[in-house]
């Protein structure tokens, strides 16, 4: 209980900008009091592990009110005000749970935007949402931490191994099947259509014999004027498009695009939804 009051006090102070981020070491901001002290401690440990292993910040924020901001906006503001993130690009994630609107958002920053593309955010969110819907906030957060750790590891493998096939690519491959089926059906329909049309056409052999030239007399073509006069010329120049291939990774793509939004002059990614 004591922790809760400290949490609320912290948030209040932060929002009013009286005291700039004094809990710098803590990464669990349970302002809506959804976690027990033990759970908070566990999450703090997980966050520190990820920090050490992957140079990736991971913070948790729960709240009952987002002060009129959208949940992700609120998370981004909090992230900046707490000066979260590692390195020059403030790499890290903050997981915001707003009990007021029953919405949660994973907000990413820096390298995390590259790693947690829309595709992976969706995969993770699908898992985490299950926990949140059941009221198991701690479970959801631990799951998120596991996923963050896992994908940071996978991303590292992707960078090191040019032949690495990401989960995203595998998924794309699986998706090829229905697309292929669709194309095959279309091709087959077209072939059948053309085939039947040819068969129908073969039933109609009425084609004109000549455009008239067949009845031209042997020496019946006389030219009075036969000129090909050069009229004009012009030359156009078109620049050859430069082929700047910035994709240094030959093996394939990591995970598709990441959609971003900006807040306070910085760029954030991520995603989430209602639970």
């Amino acid at each position: 209980m004591k922790k809760k009051w400290i949490g609320i006090f912290t948030l209040l102070c932060m929002l009013l900008s009286f005291v700039p981020a004094f809990a710098e070491e803590g990464r669990v901001f349970d302002n809506a009091d959804l976690l027990t002290a033990e759970e908070e401690a566990e999450l703090q440990v997980l966050s520190e592990e990820i920090q050490q292993e992957w140079d990736m910040d991971l913070a948790y924020l729960t709240t009952n009110d987002t002060e009129g901001l959208s949940v992700r906006e609120y998370g981004a503001q909090f992230y900046m005000e707490k000066n979260l993130g590692i390195g020059e690009d403030y790499s890290g994630l903050i997981f915001v749970v707003d009990m007021g609107s029953r919405e949660a958002q994973i907000v990413t920053s820096g390298t995390a935007i590259d790693i947690f593309t829309d595709y992976y955010i969706e995969v993770i969110w699908d898992e985490v949402m299950g926990y949140l819907s059941d009221g198991d906030f701690y479970g959801g957060m631990v799951d998120l931490a596991d996923n963050v750790s896992y994908y940071c590891g996978e991303y590292q493998k992707y960078l090191e191994d040019p032949d690495y096939i990401s989960a995203y690519e595998q998924d794309q491959d699986v998706n090829v099947l229905p697309v292929f089926m669709g194309i095959a059906v279309l091709i087959s329909l077209a072939i059948a259509g053309i085939g039947v049309t040819i068969m129908r056409r073969s039933c109609d052999t009425i084609r004109p014999f000549t455009d008239g030239r067949a009845y031209l007399k042997g020496n019946g073509y006389h030219l009075r004027v036969n000129q090909d006069i050069f009229a004009n010329t012009h030359t156009t120049m078109m620049p050859i498009p430069k082929n700047d291939d910035t994709n240094h990774h030959s093996g394939g793509s990591w995970g598709g695009p990441s959609s971003t939004f900006s807040s306070g002059g910085r760029s954030f990614g991520g995603g989430g939804g209602k639970f």
Partner: protein, 373 residues
């Protein structure tokens, strides 16, 4: 480039000259010649006479073909006595059938109606020539069966004995025209060359004014004079070797039917003009310099015809009704060339569509599997 400023032709190379307003000279883009007004006049440079405009492809005007014609009716008359001719009309379709007094018509070859009524023969023109049949009914029946062979979409039982019996030899009336076409043809010819260096792709477009004028003489253009016969079908039956035509004689009609003309030459001038106009343009475009593209064709042709011959040409024909529509099979009675339209069964079409679809789907599946998709 302002095309309307191109008024003179280069005295060196005959290309169009462009007026360079800065220098006050006439410039040839082709041979790099430069001329003042005085020089041009001294050298007797030709002035562009026609109003044809050379324009780039996207600004070019649509192709236009305009045609005029004048005909002089000159129909050699046959001298055959027509008293031995027997005429019938069909009460159903109004078709007029002729034959000699030993042959009798028992059904209408044009619509299949089983009764035809004898009438009095009347007509302004007598046929001058006839092209006798060189094939017999057996050939025609065989040809019909050949045409039907392998046609999967044909309704079942279409090639019955009964139908084969109805194949009839008919002398179809034709007007055979001689004609002269006087043409004046303008077009723009375009040649494009493309090359590139490290930084740019260059596209050079040369435009030429193609001008051809002259005349074309056509002879023996057959046009069927029967309203009952489909024009496209009769056109498709060609060619007939008209040099083997004989002066008309009643005896050729024995065992065959003939149709009386419904069109006089004056009714067919327009159709003849339409038939050979594409030939005129294609013939003109054939020769001369080669271009990658020719567009902006403006062709005026003046047709004149001074001879039309009434001739009977041999055709084996069979009209079948299927689902309310007439289908015509015809064979050139001289050369054996077959044309025709066979009925198509809807259920057979659906069946074959499905079969081909399945096979194609299977094959695409196997290919995909082989490629490891």
């Amino acid at each position: 480039m302002e095309n309307t400023a191109l008024t003179y032709l280069c005295p060196n190379c005959m290309a169009y000259l462009r007026f360079d307003g800065k220098e006050g000279n006439w410039v040839c883009d082709y041979c790099d010649g430069k001329f003042t007004m005085e020089e041009l006049e001294q050298r007797g440079a030709k002035i562009k006479e026609d109003d044809y405009q050379i324009l780039p492809r996207d600004q070019a005007e649509e192709d236009t073909t305009d045609v005029s014609y004048h005909y002089e009716e000159n129909i050699p008359q046959g001298e055959e006595d027509m008293s031995h001719i027997r005429a019938y009309t069909c009460p159903s379709c109004g078709g007029e059938i002729l034959t000699d007094d030993v042959t009798s018509a028992t059904f209408c070859v044009f619509c299949g109606n089983p009764t035809v009524l004898p009438t009095q023969f009347a007509g302004k023109y007598r046929p001058t020539a006839i092209l006798p049949f060189e094939t017999d009914k057996k050939d025609a029946q065989k040809a019909f069966l050949n045409l039907c062979r392998g046609k999967k979409l044909l309704p079942k039982g279409y090639t019955s004995e009964q139908r084969l019996e109805k194949i009839t030899g008919v002398y179809v009336p034709f007007w055979v025209f001689d004609c002269k076409a006087d043409f004046d043809y303008h077009a723009t010819g375009e040649n494009v060359t493309t090359w590139s260096d490290a930084r740019y792709i260059y596209t050079k477009t040369d435009l030429y004014h193609i001008h051809r004028a002259g005349d074309l003489e056509f002879e023996n253009i057959p046009l069927d004079a029967s309203e009952k016969m489909r024009d496209d079908l009769m056109d498709a039956l060609e060619p007939f070797r008209l040099d083997q035509a004989k002066p008309f004689d009643m005896s050729y009609l024995s065992g065959f039917l003939a149709e009386k003309y419904t069109y006089e030459p004056k009714d067919l001038y327009d159709r003849m003009t339409k038939r050979i106009t594409p030939g005129v343009e294609n013939k003109v475009a054939e020769g001369g310099r080669a271009y990658q593209r020719v567009y902006g064709v403006k062709c005026h042709t003046d047709f004149s015809s001074d001879r039309q011959v009434y001739m009977l040409l041999p055709v084996w024909m069979l009209i079948s009704k299927y689902e309310g529509k007439d289908y015509l099979f015809a064979m050139n009675g001289q050369t054996g060339k077959i044309v025709g339209e066979l009925p198509v069964s809807g259920s057979q079409t659906a069946k074959w569509f499905f079969i081909i679809f399945l096979i194609a789907f299977l094959i695409t599946g196997i290919i995909a599997f082989a490629l490891g998709i």
